[in-house]
Symmetry: C2
Subunit: 88 residues, 2 copies
């Protein structure tokens, strides 16, 4: 059952869209070496809300996602330019 968990976390092909988005945010945030709280402050969302987004528990609206994407200093094109989001 640790194997199942492993698959869920790495094989993004079968991941929920909200999980994919959360993982993408986390990736980009770690690249910038900032904490959830720091990112949350820039995006003007609550720290615990950001946790929910990164863990795929929140189904964000486009407007909130825009704030987060901008807080990551990128745009939607770059944010979604990732294998996770392509059916290929």
């Amino acid at each position: 059952m640790t194997i199942d968990l492993f698959l869920v976390e790495t094989n993004f092909k079968y991941m929920d869209i909200n999980q994919k988005i959360g993982e993408r945010i986390r990736e980009l945030r770690k690249e910038k070496n900032i904490s959830q709280e720091a990112l949350a402050n820039i995006a003007e969302v609550d720290r615990t809300y950001m946790t929910g987004v990164e863990t795929g528990k929140r189904n964000v609206t486009v407007k909130v996602l825009e704030r987060i994407v901008y807080a990551l200093d990128i745009d939607f094109t770059i944010f979604f330019d990732d294998n996770k989001f392509s059916r290929k």
Copy 2:
């Protein structure tokens, strides 16, 4: 004041994100030569809801946007691969 309207509709740089998304959906739908109603049916949303999305009046969640994007037979990467969504 017709001039203002003209700018709002064409100069996407200053458009609301929901307007941009609506315009992008409309573009892609017209390319496929299908009606709002046909697209709405595939995406399993109401026809009038689709109108609201295309006219930028709805702030959609990621899950609903996913249904629409898939109904257009593309993925998120392609959907957001457009000048409208890049800060350049």
